[in-house]
Amino acid sequence: MFKKAISVMLVLVMVTLVGCSAATTTATTAAPAATTAAAAETTAAPAGGSESYTIVVMPKLIGIPYFNRSQTGAEQAGKDLGVNVIYNGPSVGDAAQQVQMIEDYITQGVDAICVAPNDAAALTPVLQKAKDAGIKVLDWDTPAEKSVVELSVHQIDDKELAQVYYDQLVEIAGTDSGNYAIITGGLSAANLNTWIDLGAEYAKTKYPNLKLVTDKIGSDESADIAYQKSLDLIKTYPA
């Protein structure tokens, strides 16, 4: 029973860290991340354009392995398509900083902005400004408000992803009844919360015997903290 509990915890920990910073799982998500960014650009640059377009690709924040992959993809796409790609983002996942950077890009007069919003609601006013200025707006990785974007590029369907989490969980644990807990990268990360909520709904219908023992626990995007909390969880809720 204890072994099952460990595996349950481990799966959840690894899987929720994927959202932002795990190195071990970067390999599997690298391909989608890179292609997402590339796809975003292909749509931004209309085919057959002779002038060089300037396209801004902005992640939630820079300096995270996951988004570094996106950078590789975006810059490669820029070379392939012959457009000028600016890959830049805030140094922390702060929506305020992101909004300011976008405002400055509007001033600069770029042709398109592809952004992974830290917070959809916070970015709506500035993205509307961009749209009003004639700049094409796209979102990727995390959806922004539908009314301001031309196109939304999503590396994976949220609902499906959440379902896969739970299906895998049950598969590895070997049973569909028992206790489980969730450790999330950040309590206020919108996409992680979406996955968690969708997954919980799915679990209610498909796996009614899975019991969530406590509210989701945040790890401040730190593997150290996640490790520590997992240990504590295993001790508190054995089996």
């Binding site: 820079i62 300096g63 600016i86 830049n88 983002g89 805030p90 140094s91 922390v92 996942g93 702060d94 929506a95 305020a96 900083q97 909004v99 300011q100 950077m101 405002e103 400055d104 890009y105 509007i106 001033t107 600069q108 917070d119 609601a121 916070a122 970015l123 709506t124 006013p125 950040g186 309590l187 206020s188 990360a189 919108a190 919360n193 945040g218």
Partner: protein, 343 residues
């Protein structure tokens, strides 16, 4: 006596040398950025953009500055703003969206909510620091956590949004082409200058920061001065909360997290003595301008944000070094003058 009319001006610059240095730095940076961005920096689009962005940070910096003047520090200023904005957002969305209510009522309710909550937070800080005498750093480290926790408790990590357009106008509207946030900020700065530098209470704030014991023995009620300082700091949080929630159309626990350290940088860069007792509002404001200019300018130049952080840190050290060197020079000059006089 050979007194040329230049001397009084020179003397007043010397007395305010720290602030003068800052203004010079600001002008230099502006010129540099304008050159590098081929004029875009001074374009009306950018100036308007900066004028919208600056005030929310500017208020936080002011909120930090008043506390530092008393020799303390307020690490909870951002979270006070976040927490109150969350309460305000809650009230607004409930009244406006669910109560099918009047947009104006929602607006007023929200503003009152923000004010009350922020002042409560400030009172908690003030109580611990002024009445119990606990070190400000300790108090504000813990209240920082508490306020963040309260915010998390209400929002569960998510954001509260859905504000009526009259509320959003606060953050996005313009009067005579000047962004409204900037107008608020300018008015606040004027009020601060008057309050801190031209009233008795303001003088008392500086006194408490300089030497609390002597101040106490001169008959000043340290406790009430300190309590009001923390309330004033929280009041700055009110403005920041309103501006942030209005501009970003939502309230969330972690908006503006990068502003905390930056506000300490702005305060110190602005010439405020970290041990209290000295600091000019105009200095802090200039520092805020400098930080904003660098941030926007480097964005326009596509500089990696990490390098921007490095530059801001470096700037702080450079300005402090300049202050130190000028202090050494003037000390030496005083020595020479004293020696010359003694002859």
């Amino acid at each position: 006596m050979n007194q040329s009319p230049k001397i009084p001006l020179y003397k007043s610059i010397r007395d305010n040398s720290k602030e003068a240095t800052l203004i010079v730095v600001f002008i230099v940076i502006t010129l540099l950025l304008t050159l590098l961005t081929k004029g875009k920096f001074l374009s009306s689009a950018n100036l308007v953009s900066m004028a919208f962005q600056l005030p929310e940070f500017g208020f936080i910096a002011l909120g930090m500055m008043v506390v530092v003047l008393t020799g303390g520090i307020n690490l909870s200023v951002i979270n006070t703003a976040a927490m109150s904005s969350i309460f305000g957002a809650l009230i607004i969305s409930k009244v406006f969206n669910q109560g099918a209510g009047n947009a104006t009522v929602a607006l007023i309710g929200g503003l009152i909510g923000i004010t009350v909550v922020a002042l409560l937070g400030g009172a908690l800080n003030g109580l611990a620091v002024a009445h119990f005498g606990v070190a400000p750093m300790l108090v504000t480290i813990s209240t920082m956590m508490i306020f963040e926790g309260v915010g998390l408790l209400i929002t569960k990590g998510g954001a509260i949004s859905g504000f009526p357009s009259n509320y959003m106008w606060i953050g996005a509207g313009k009067i005579l082409g000047i962004p409204f946030p900037m107008i608020l900020y300018i008015l606040a700065v004027i009020a601060f200058v008057i309050l801190l530098e031209h009233t008795v209470w303001g003088r008392q704030v500086y006194m408490v920061g300089c030497n609390p014991t002597a101040t106490y023995f001169s008959g000043v009620n340290n406790r009430s001065v300190l309590m009001r300082v923390y309330l004033l700091s929280a009041a700055c949080g009110i403005f920041a909360a309103v501006l942030i929630s209005s501009r970003y159309n939502s309230a969330k626990v972690d908006y503006g997290s990068s502003y905390l350290m930056k506000s300490i940088v702005a305060t110190v860069l602005g010439g405020t003595d970290i041990n209290g007792g000295y600091g000019k509002v105009i200095g802090t404001v200039t520092a805020v301008l400098i930080i904003q200019a660098i941030s926007s300018g480097l964005n326009l130049l596509n500089v990696n944000r990490f390098l921007t952080d490095v530059i801001m840190g470096g700037l702080l050290l450079v300005v402090l070094a300049i202050n130190f060197i000028s202090m050494v020079i003037s000390a030496r000059r005083n020595k020479q003058q004293a020696a010359a006089k003694a002859v």
